[in-house]
Symmetry: D2
Subunit: 341 residues, 4 copies
Amino acid sequence: MDEKINSVLRTAVVGYGYWGPHMARNISQISGFELSAVIDLSADRQAIASEKHPGTPIFSTIDEAIKSIELDALVVATPTHTHFELAKTAIVNGLHVIVEKPLTTDVPTSMELANLAIANGCVLMVDHTYVYSTAVEQIKSLVDSGDLGELVYFDSTRVNLGLFQPDVSVLWDLAVHDLAILQRVTGRMPTAVSANGGQHRNAKYEAAAFLTLYFDDLFFAHINVSWLSPMKIRRTVLSGTKKTVLFDDMLPDERIRIYDAGVEQNESTLLQYRLGNILVPKLANSEALRTELEHFRECIKSGSQPISSASSAVEIIATLEAAQKSMESGGFLVQIDYSVC
Amino acid sequence: MDEKINSVLRTAVVGYGYWGPHMARNISQISGFELSAVIDLSADRQAIASEKHPGTPIFSTIDEAIKSIELDALVVATPTHTHFELAKTAIVNGLHVIVEKPLTTDVPTSMELANLAIANGCVLMVDHTYVYSTAVEQIKSLVDSGDLGELVYFDSTRVNLGLFQPDVSVLWDLAVHDLAILQRVTGRMPTAVSANGGQHRNAKYEAAAFLTLYFDDLFFAHINVSWLSPMKIRRTVLSGTKKTVLFDDMLPDERIRIYDAGVEQNESTLLQYRLGNILVPKLANSEALRTELEHFRECIKSGSQPISSASSAVEIIATLEAAQKSMESGGFLVQIDYSVC
Amino acid sequence: MDEKINSVLRTAVVGYGYWGPHMARNISQISGFELSAVIDLSADRQAIASEKHPGTPIFSTIDEAIKSIELDALVVATPTHTHFELAKTAIVNGLHVIVEKPLTTDVPTSMELANLAIANGCVLMVDHTYVYSTAVEQIKSLVDSGDLGELVYFDSTRVNLGLFQPDVSVLWDLAVHDLAILQRVTGRMPTAVSANGGQHRNAKYEAAAFLTLYFDDLFFAHINVSWLSPMKIRRTVLSGTKKTVLFDDMLPDERIRIYDAGVEQNESTLLQYRLGNILVPKLANSEALRTELEHFRECIKSGSQPISSASSAVEIIATLEAAQKSMESGGFLVQIDYSVC
Amino acid sequence: MDEKINSVLRTAVVGYGYWGPHMARNISQISGFELSAVIDLSADRQAIASEKHPGTPIFSTIDEAIKSIELDALVVATPTHTHFELAKTAIVNGLHVIVEKPLTTDVPTSMELANLAIANGCVLMVDHTYVYSTAVEQIKSLVDSGDLGELVYFDSTRVNLGLFQPDVSVLWDLAVHDLAILQRVTGRMPTAVSANGGQHRNAKYEAAAFLTLYFDDLFFAHINVSWLSPMKIRRTVLSGTKKTVLFDDMLPDERIRIYDAGVEQNESTLLQYRLGNILVPKLANSEALRTELEHFRECIKSGSQPISSASSAVEIIATLEAAQKSMESGGFLVQIDYSVC
């Protein structure tokens, strides 16, 4: 419980490139937050931030900012390889932190941040925005209520013509979302992964990746992510013995469809399928990012762990590391070790 | 060249279960063909055939049929494990043969049939219907003309709530279509495959399968097939450096979409994407099955090999065998040996 | 009750142009019916019929057919202006009759046929195929159960790039379907109509028509039909105070969508809308034409009036006549007189 | 030419209800504009404006604002019946004005404003946002280039579950958009209109309206607008003898589709249709409202008339007045008199 939090969370955003401006704008608009500073090394980006947020202090480094003003929280929106140092500095200085995904690209550094945050009484949240969406909440409630029956498979496609990340494969940019959704709605993580990837001739890392995830029973998952598709697809299917739910994020008014369908064994031991009604539930209009920020603030107040905590992110990173390893071997099955998480 | 073929191809259909009635009806309606007999062991199915095709002779076995009437051709629409014996008998008796896919489930038996057909001067065609569709023809012409540029990737999804095959995995039922399309439009076959699968708890074989196919350059392919999805999806993407083509077989009036889009390297060595117009070409209305049957007849007349020849099918079977082996090992990369094909 | 009907209804089809072959094929396949003859004046069309239905007698005129063979029923699939004479001849000769829509293009001749059929103990059915579809049955049951609440409006769009009828406007070709659906699902007919139309410069009659239908309360309906649209649209909306149902005939797997939505008055007398879940019910797979033919046979057996009886068709023709009159005046409101129906 | 305009247009927004906040936000963000004041009678809305735009002066009336600060322009976003007085006051005080549609609800008052603006050297623009969209620009260029051929018909559907306007029918709220698009892309206005409407039992004015518009040749148009549909539809079709263009505003990535299709007369004087490719052109990403505001500023600088000038709005109002009159008579054809425009 952070007693120093009163009405407003004084928040700085470090990194004003692609995602930073988005966070800065939201923080400046959501009540309970104050955009107290923007931090970026680039003079050009400082100028843009200055124009968008007149009156907000601008700094070149986090150290400068901490020295100059009072801060309660930091949003880290810089390139992935800088996350560790920035988050560490913030935590050591007693700030609550939101880090853009992925937290880091290996388990040890992620674990170190998670532990450091606990030791310093700071909330450390990873920005897995999807897990705060009403669509994912709806899927989770279908699982928890037993409406889907026993889970059979999860299949997710997340492809578009995307910005190639210069220093990581598409796994770390896109599959991280699918794993966060999978973790949130099923409460489970895979025991092993086989992954394959494809490269564009002009790029260094895989621009398309295909993961098959194995669990400790017959439940299985598949994830198809790519920066190469001119069609933007965001479709996630979770199928159970009773019902199947489809999440299509490209259909703003009909994100969720629940199919009353399943595969069943009849008397004669043959498999039969059953296909019934489809329900498109009305979802509340709340925005995921607002929900996420409010949840962050709530966790600070109550001293509790966020849904997208650093330790839940560590499990995802362990899976991504294993997937990257499998991908580099051409699909070899890699066991995932969560014992250190 | 089959001189005995005059105006009409006297054709029998063996197997009157799911696919047989469909073929029998088409053969009875397409000019140049005569439905000369239906062959099925089951009295019930014989009765149904008799009602649908009054006057057409019905037999229990192929031997009976061959003994009793004059035949030029046989369509084999029986369960997969019977294909080899039936096709062999037909060829030995000098009949031209169409076999439902897959031809057989291993390379040696498929090769034996291919060689036997050549030795006996018979046309042996595998029913890869898709390769005779106007949509696939259109994709092929985009590749051949260079409109797509150099090929980057192929990604195909073929899922629905399907009849579980009792004795083979979904690979042999569905992925065979994607491989036939891939082979037809690119003229290439993979050098290695990594495959993974998922099982339904009540079934013996994989009901979902995911293949990644590697080639002798950076071109790659992915195939996702399943009998478990309440949504029926039939989407195939072929992407090149200049354009990308999408084949969606569930949109009867707009099966093909050509995206003027690509990923390009700019001066500064960064990758950029370009997204332009989309073209939905008008396709001719011809039916694939009619085109296929006319092609079969044409090959008999001219003595040439059909597009979906037994030897092209052998390459597909070699790939499926390797994929099945990889799938059973959890994704281990398996090299594909075409030297025997 | 027609005692002479035993197991099979001996049925002739007159008119083997566009719709006739479709009916002939269905009649030859549905049990309980026998295709006993095809009648057409054109030698070319006789030849086609002969090839499609080997063994079936072919005649040039209905009189020839009646003289030569035993018939129980006649399907009239000739141009509209010939319906009256052909149906009359059939009824006078004791045949049960199905007539393609529209029955005729004026109330008096339609009434004469309706009365003649009653006098001769014949079933006279108009081929309003839609009213026998599972989708329309579903809408009707939503109305009858009160699920929709009180009816607010009906809005139907039926446009495509169509064959121009040489002797009637699009009203008689397409709007007839919407009126048949409206009549079936609501059990109501309009009291007045205002209609407008548009012509193609090369055609004599209206190729697009827009109808607004008024009833004896605030319920209203609008129908938009056209032969000029390159997009084929078949969408019918029926909205009530509680729910709204959408029938989209171009979506074979999701023809019906039920919106839990409505407009309501709140305390402060302001209107508010409410938008909730959407349900896509699973519809039975039965084909409308088969249901229609079985219903025809059932009516003959039991001596009852068909759903799409001649007298229900007369109401539709009265509405179309009024609409045509209004359309020719540029939208003048025309009262519809059903007193003669 | 307004010499006093230097770098920034000092702009006030009057009316901070539904549309006002939207305009205020845009004005505060687009360079070349300064949000100099918000004006609203309601203390509650003043408070909201104050929170959203800290530092911006808030006033209760336009007179107060004019007295207190320097202004160059006013955006009128109040209820329709107040437009006339507010715009007049602004113009008399030398301000350039943007008025929310409709300008007024009758021709004389609209004309008076148009004339007053000219007399005072002010730019008076009506906020017909659609005419500044890239989609409408694309349609206009297809017409102007002759690609569509001669125009055949225009058909627009604009329905949703909408806020009922308390003092006008849906015509003035929604059909005004379709008329503005029609005017912009064809450069033509109808000579006569027949309109029909439907009421909700709890509302005073028509909540659904159907217009058929006649021109001085065979070209015709139909508009279907409603506040009663749970499905939101925004579809406009413009069909020519050579091609047809479809504008579907609900498909953000594929707003425009160009059908290479038409109806043609063949040698034998029969009408035939032709259906070819479909093209989905890539549209520029510019936002309509930004384009509109930049155009407003440009007109002020150059002293020219805006595309959505008061005088073009007068033609639309004349049409809407005629349509309202026709609607109240049940569809009677009303000639439209533009002589006063």
